[in-house]
Symmetry: D2
Subunit: 416 residues, 4 copies
């Protein structure tokens, strides 16, 4: 069996995997395309055909669907407009593998993605190969490379996002199975990476946040703009399982005054008494991981907590979550341990457009803007984020009740 | 690819596949066990690993689950009590593959059977082989064959019931897929079989219904008892697609006075305007079958109609559905075309215990009795019913809204 | 405050309040109309305007709605067809107060009946008076009395049915209020009435059930027909609270093998551990009654149990519920204590058409037939049934989960 | 019938009804208490007992419940702690009329407030009088007036909030009734009030928002703090019905690209094609108002739109909604027509704590903080807001799907 493939990417801050250096641009993008596409397959390797077809909840998607959907993305936005001779692999796949692009036509209902047993794994692999070949040919031969390049680029970033979801979603599926399937028997938490900055400095005053320069960013990171911060100290360290066990021991899950009203409703309705995937077995806490069921390690960052839980923990600690601006400024200053590569970190910022935000034109404009409601921003990246996909301005977002991502937190405190 | 395997069983009335002849009883049951177990695998052969894992609605089950559950049934009720040296294949399977036997311990939630990606197909096949060997050994060597025999027998009838469900459930799954997967490209409706009796005779008076004699029956077919029938004429023929198209053309689906109140609610809520699996494509009606999407054939029996639809059709026709007693008496008299092997036939009888009904003792008592509420009886058998599993006293039962079975109807009319 | 008005009607079997004697037919029906209409108001008297407007669940209706709906029934089916000069009180009321007669036009959604604050109580009273006067005038002056008479008759029986529902529904509303409102402070259980027959006789053989003769019956009681009964002994006495407490003490509510599968689901989902309206207060059982919260009296019949509970109790007792035919034959033989006037008695019979059943023509045909699915028959009558509304052939019916009616049970046992 | 009572309060910006002048403080608060309490009764006067008891959806509350709940608030937070001799009117009311204060004990389920028929209107009035007398006595005689005064003050602001809800909730109830009940036959839209500032000035730069000084504010308006605004022009005028009709004419409700994803789901699920309470009758648009069903007036502000609709309209117009900070700065500059007293105005700001926010201690801390998730801020005030309750720093908040408030919008545009 092929070795599974989730190594921690080892770059804090912006890394360069997809940043084009001077020189042969077509060659660079051919390589990048090949590398990213291979990473998807590497992550799929430990999974059986059955593993790849299930959808364990409406918010998750089957592995096979991820593999086909990112392929459809290239077919829909790159090959159809720019490669006139391209023959689609199967016209019906546009219906099956469009996610939510209303402008791109009707699509299979999201909660029923797990019912698509056919095309099977083999046919999906063939679909990927068909599109891979066509994209490579296009990159090599197109007369309009300047128009093609940004679509390739966003397509690869899009695929990287799905690489992370592929892992979060299969972990959720495995967590429903009483036999505790193992994705990678050798999986371990990544080694922690201390912050670059030596001193512990509060952030404050007029600061610029958002993406600047010509390197890739999603539209939701732009425009860069100034904000005014009250003096605040963002914790260097992530909240750990050990600290979370204290919160639990001090009745954190049964004290309504610690909770947002909607959060308390959720705790009551779902019977939550510990983070997602924790199991109490014979008096000890275990947690479902990519390595199967493992004892909870008090030294590691807490993971799979919802915004509601993160917020309640902060209130219990007498602190609060940082805003996304506070987080970004502190991260840029190198003041945060494990800003990247461990767990996504909930901020107290609702996911909203930056002042002057303009969505991409056309169907790609549905990528980010239409989700800017009812969700909270997470910053950083996680152990499941592929190399080259982390940056300080990156805005991840989920509903406050979501727990199946690799989501944790760090605290903040205003200066008095 | 192995040839798929759904031939019409060609016996009207009781057939003998599982009826033990005089002679070597152990040999007979060894053969029967082997034959029935093989039929399950034969029905599975056309299905990919992905096909076998999905559950397309809570009432359906994955193919793999059917294969494992019927195996668990032998493990639970036969091997554990009677084969002291038996080592279970995997102790965790009792949790995964118990269906609803409360007395047999806790079990995986029914609506989540489609999430069990592991054990996979190969392991499930190994599980079946493990149990097959142990059962064969038990039959050959047990000192208590008289106690073992009835458990083997009920286990085989149980497996045959799941053989039919395996097909109804995979057809439902395929019907959710816009690419219309084909189970068996050569599938055809069975040849119709006219009734034995020459004349068209009403049934009436004191009649005995229910199972008599020593041959196998489920507890719900017993005790045989007398009933008093008003003179009634049960139609020789099944209602056809052609007749159903007339019902549709005469506003059957939009005339509330034809419908039971709950049925009308269902029609409105689901937007029903045709039988289950019918698709209107470019002005013509097609239907999803085991052979893929096929044009509706007016000469064939209507199939995949709910009780509500069957009842509304009967009211539109100025007639009614037969009661189960009327059906049984007419079938025994040989007065019905295609009583067996085509479609199950809704009766107007609610599924209730016969007078003096006693459930089996122990966990097997959960087999039938606890479902005797809110369901309607269907009689006969369908094209998906395995050979040797049809008989005149057989009581099938489903909720009145169910459409995914091979369910049709014939009409009846009281003598005036 | 006017004295509330729920005396036990004191007639076992058929009583004659609405049975027309020889003589002045118009006079008789004028009196009957006046008497029945007054009984509705008498039952309303203890209720405030606020009490009359609430709907505490979709299956219940507000008192004011009952009062207006039965009035609309006369307006719709009697005055509009037969009194050409009649001016409707308010044309909009046909929309507000039609219950489920699809043929009579669109109507206000059932679950929102409690939102109709206007017309208010005073206007509803005026509506009743308006229709009362018009009906009286019609009875006195119509040239087509033979056509009018049966509509008056069914309208009064219809109103009597709603008189009972008025009480069951307001009791349900009061039971939601933590202050335990009292409908009638002097309310008591009626005095029990022993059976007429001296000996304890099983019923069996060919028997006729269903309504015969010219007196009033609903269409669902017809046609009378013969049935064949296995020898069975129907208990003389109703099951009491004391017996139910034993069932509870012997883990009745926590033993799944006693329950129908759907019943067990209901017990689990609702957390049932005692009959409807029972409250455990400081170690003792109380129950919400028309007289407010009262201690449970072990000698009285158990009340407010669902079919599922009744069936589980019977299984626990090693017996079963009688069929409706068994009940009717035993009641006609005078072999049952408290057959009427105490609690409705669940039977094991699903509510189905009798052989040869024909619904009334026109919109009145929606009265009974369209509900003949998914419900169980109750026989007898209850303390809330108005005088003159009980008879041996009467078929009441509710869903097996219903608990808000005055529903109890008696047991039966087959002869061996 | 008493004249109904909803005049437009006629003060733009902060008015002084509850702002204490120098002099006899006890006298001032006695008067203020009496005035505010009387306003609640004035708003109740047009309503019948039935009107006062209904709850037309879980988010709305019955009039009677509002009247009793605000009274309980004084009993719970003022009389119980500070008036040792006070005898509660009825101990059970604490259960019935606590809204959501977990720290104040268990309470009646919110969605079932409409089932509390008792206490009735008369008893509720007596309850109010009982508490009124006790509060007046306390104000006059307490030795600890400094502690009492802020509770009286917040209690009155709390009651004023419910005065507005009382109207929004009864309008929702009336809108469910096909007879279109009228709250006040003489109701009219208030006269518009042009902005004070003559010139049309963008806002930008470092600005202070939030409440300053000693006058009353809710905790969510504090602390005042600086923000940095990008140059933006906030429209002087509210969006009108006429403009909304254009949006509708240009397919606003059927163009998915204009909508947030959740908003589009809502439009589809609910079938929205116009603002809340609009009815299309014989080719013209009408809307349900406090004055009953009225033709839509193109010159008046659009009302009863959700955040989703407001946001879609802004996108259609090529603009956006102002942030709450932009709104507050523009309002303070006197640059907005009808900032107050017409309709609440959706902003694009999620409802979050201001930097350094600290909730009130004790149960009163549940007032605002625990709702700071999933809701959007509205600014200004509406025609239903009582006099003295409007101010520039006031933060109202509702879920983005809410339509039953008097909610409209104005647009904004960034300077280029």
């Amino acid at each position: 069996m092929p070795r599974p493939a989730v190594r921690l990417h080892d770059t804090a801050g912006e890394d360069t995997a997809l940043a084009e250096p001077p020189g042969d641009s077509r060659r660079f993008w051919l390589d990048a395309f090949s590398t990213v596409r291979a990473e998807t397959e590497r992550r799929t390797a430990p999974l059986s055909a059955e593993d790849q077809v299930v959808q364990s909840m409406p918010d998750a998607s089957p592995t096979k669907w991820h593999r086909a959907h990112v392929t459809w993305f290239f077919e829909q936005f790159l090959l159809r407009p720019f490669a006139p001779a391209y023959l689609p692999f199967d016209e019906r796949f546009a219906f099956l593998f469009n996610s939510y692009y209303v402008a791109a036509g009707p699509r299979h209902a999201r909660p029923q993605r797990g019912l698509i047993t056919r095309p099977g794994v083999a046919e999906t692999t063939a679909y990927r190969a068909h599109v891979d070949a066509a994209v490579a040919r296009l990159i090599e031969t197109t007369n309009d490379f300047e128009a093609v390049r940004p679509i390739v680029e966003i397509g690869l970033h899009h695929e990287q996002q799905h690489q992370e979801l592929l892992l979060t979603d299969i972990l959720h599926a495995f967590a429903q199975n009483a036999t505790h399937p193992v994705y990678d028997a050798e999986w371990q938490w990544p080694q922690g990476r201390p912050a670059a900055a030596a001193t512990d400095t509060p952030v404050f005053g007029i600061q610029t946040i958002g993406h600047q320069g010509n390197s890739f960013s999603f539209d939701n990171e732009r425009p860069a703009h100034q904000v005014l911060l009250q003096p605040v100290r963002v914790a260097r360290g992530l909240v750990t399982n050990g600290e979370w066990l204290e919160f639990m021991a001090e009745s954190g899950y049964t004290t309504p005054s610690l909770w947002l009203s909607n959060g308390w409703d959720e705790v009551q309705a779902q019977g939550y008494c510990a983070p997602g995937y924790w199991r109490h077995v014979d008096g000890a806490w275990f947690t479902m991981t990519l390595g199967g069921l493992r004892p909870v390690d008090p030294a590691q960052p807490v993971c799979h907590v919802s915004y509601y839980e993160a917020d309640a923990f902060a209130r219990w600690a007498g602190k609060h979550l940082p805003s996304e601006a506070e987080w970004e400024v502190a991260a840029r200053a190198g003041a945060l341990d494990d800003a990247f590569g461990m767990v996504w970190q909930w901020t107290r910022s609702a996911y909203s457009p930056y002042p002057g935000y303009v969505a991409e034109p056309g169907a790609l404009g549905e990528y980010n803007g239409k989700f800017m409601i009812n969700q909270m921003v997470l910053r950083g990246s996680s152990l499941a984020t592929p190399a080259g996909h982390s940056r300080e301005t990156y805005r991840n977002f989920f509903y406050p009740s979501a727990r199946w991502q690799f989501s944790g937190l760090r605290l903040a405190e205003f200066e008095r």
